[in-house]
């Protein structure tokens, strides 16, 4: 690739000495230029979709309660018809694995799609920049405003911008906390100024994080704080679609009039207008090649295409392409075919296997859980024919939102018997109950100091009267005092 041409004052990054940049991060404030086009439209689609889910989610109702509620106080997570307990952490792990694999898959196919279109950092920055643009004006107006000394107008504009930012940030913080505390109650508490101290704190904390990250930090979050940005390139291969500047077509760069025959002047198709740099939210020059700062937002593609249209040149001087396609001059068709390569097929297969396995286990999950805790009260009773007596506490969890009647039995030793409170035991919907149980067994039938026994907890399913009862077996040990 040719040596990059330094862009002038409009350029942004590139002017700093690299040594200086790594040691002393003198951040230049970026003024990304607004851009319109196919990819900007996609990004706004994702902004709307993700935020519809995020802001709207806590307001949905299911079974007369909040549909999605991570109820930390009662240690239960409700997701529509499902109720998760701390014991279900394996599903959280599986969810994380699925997310990670999806990220690997998307990255292998087309680079940082997540970063450019769906990451909250991108989404909130986009929303905050939209507010900024509406209040302060376009890129040039904003630069001019910042360069001005403080005036009544500047104060008014800045106050309006920050006021709107803070309002959006607070609403975001409120929605976030609404996933952990029922949002309607939370809303009433806010309106009556009766919000609890920790809820207040977390609304402000999340709101402040949103305001800071989307208003002030912006691209620095991606450049210095995001772990994914650092390792995403290991998932790339020469067939990964990345945002690429076609240097063979564009160089040598230079400005020219629309009417000029640039080929006769020895120029390429890049008019060196620096629009691609001006629109970049991380302030890089994509013409320098693939850089870790590139979040794959494709704003430069949209920007460049507009310029190409104006010049009457074909679009796609900057485009989604692959390393191999650039070197081998692939057609669009061939690039698309290369998506279905072994690496992508294997990633996809593994992803579907995990999703399928998770779905099946979730479907077959027994909505009854039992934890056995042995109490200290073990005694020996009787004279000639002694009996060993152990006391246990059984925590029985009914994980579905229907009441259940359960009965407990014990087995494992000849002549073993159990004494509990009057059976069957009633357990309310999505709740748990601790039941004390006394187990007795003849001393004669126990051979070892501690003998394994099995508790069986059975519950009839009231929603399916004819169905087999739910049955959970839990191991325990019987100890001779």
């Amino acid at each position: 690739m040719d040596t990059p041409v330094k862009v002038g004052a409009a350029g942004g990054a590139g002017a700093l000495d690299p040594g200086e940049q790594t040691l002393y991060e003198v951040r230049r404030k970026l003024y990304p230029r607004a851009v319109q086009g196919r990819f900007a439209a996609w990004r706004w689609t994702f902004v709307l979709l993700t935020q519809l889910v995020f802001y709207g989610g806590p307001w949905l109702t299911w079974n007369g309660r909040q549909a999605v509620l991570f109820d930390l106080v009662s240690r239960k997570f409700y997701i529509f018809g499902l109720v998760f307990w701390p014991q279900d952490i394996v599903y959280l792990t599986v969810l994380l694995i699925i997310s990670a694999y999806s990220l690997f898959l998307f990255t292998a196919v087309a680079g940082r799609l997540w970063c450019g279109f769906a990451c909250p950092q991108t989404v909130y920055t986009e929303m905050f920049m939209w507010i900024e643009r509406k209040v302060e004006g376009d890129r040039l107006a904003r630069m001019r405003l910042d360069a001005q000394p403080l005036s009544a107008r500047k104060l008014r504009l800045k106050a309006a911008k920050h006021g709107l930012w803070i309002a959006l940030a607070l609403w975001t913080g409120f929605s976030f906390v609404g996933y952990f505390t029922p949002i309607k109650a939370l809303g009433h508490e806010v309106l009556s100024l009766g919000l609890g101290p920790w809820e207040t704190f977390w609304v402000l904390f999340y709101g402040f994080a949103t305001y800071g990250n989307a208003g002030w930090m912006r691209e620095q979050v991606c450049k210095y704080m995001c772990p994914y940005a650092r390792f995403q390139s290991v998932m790339f291969d020469p067939d990964t679609l990345i945002i690429t500047y076609d240097s063979a077509r564009g160089d040598p760069r230079g400005s020219r009039a629309r009417s000029v025959d640039y080929k006769a002047k020895g120029l390429g198709e890049c008019v060196d207008c620096s629009i691609c740099v001006q629109v970049c939210p991380t302030g890089i020059d994509i013409r320098d090649g693939l850089q870790y700062e590139c979040i794959g937002c494709a704003a430069c593609i949209d920007g460049c295409n507009q310029v190409m249209d104006k010049m009457g040149y074909p679009r796609g001087l900057i485009r989604y392409s692959t390393e191999k396609a650039m070197a081998g001059h692939y057609t669009a068709d061939r690039i698309l075919k290369r998506i279905f390569r072994p690496r992508v097929i294997v990633y996809t297969a593994i992803l579907w296997l995990i999703i399928l396995a998770a779905g099946i286990t979730l479907y077959h999950r027994v909505p009854l859980k039992v934890d056995v805790i042995r109490d200290r009260g073990n005694v020996m009773r009787g004279g000639d024919d002694p009996e060993v007596q152990n006391v246990y506490r059984l925590q029985i969890m009914n994980t579905q939102e229907v009441p259940r009647e359960v009965s407990i039995a014990v087995s494992g030793v000849d002549g073993i018997s159990l004494e509990a409170e009057h059976q069957p035991i009633h357990i309310g919907p999505a709740s748990s109950r601790v039941v004390a149980v006394r187990v007795e067994a003849p001393r004669a039938s126990i051979r070892e100091k501690s003998t394994p026994i099995v508790f069986t907890v059975e519950a009839a399913d009231p929603s399916h009267p004819g169905a087999l009862p739910l049955k959970v077996a839990e191991k325990a040990t019987l100890v001779i005092p």
């Binding site: 002393y24 952490i89 920790w198 704190f201």
Partner: protein, 101 residues
């Protein structure tokens, strides 16, 4: 630079604290958590929140030590920046062999 160091310390420890918080409180119920023989009396939300900040503080302590030990010999022996590149206000802007000790 100071801000960047602060981010280097606070941010990785924030992530680590989040993971530790999720794992710890999935396994241990705050209402059954022993505290010098008695049970932590606070509400679950309080224990979760205080727990998070404790995890964060510990992780930040570790991060700050990493940050502290990370300086190489060049940085410890003398300032790696040429005098003109040192920040305005640095008292050693004119001293070629200055170090930050």
């Amino acid at each position: 630079m100071r801000l960047q160091r602060l981010i280097w310390v606070l941010w990785p420890s924030f992530i680590a604290a989040g993971v530790a918080e999720a794992l710890f409180f999935t396994i241990f119920d705050p209402e059954e958590l022993p505290f010098f023989g008695t049970i932590v009396g606070a509400s679950r939300i309080t224990t979760y929140s205080v727990g998070f900040f404790l995890f964060w503080a510990f992780a930040a302590f570790s991060s700050s030590l990493t940050c502290f030990f990370q300086r190489g010999s060049a940085e410890l022996n003398r300032c790696p920046l040429p005098p003109t590149a040192r920040p305005l206000g640095c008292p050693k802007r004119s001293d070629e062999n200055a170090s930050c000790r």
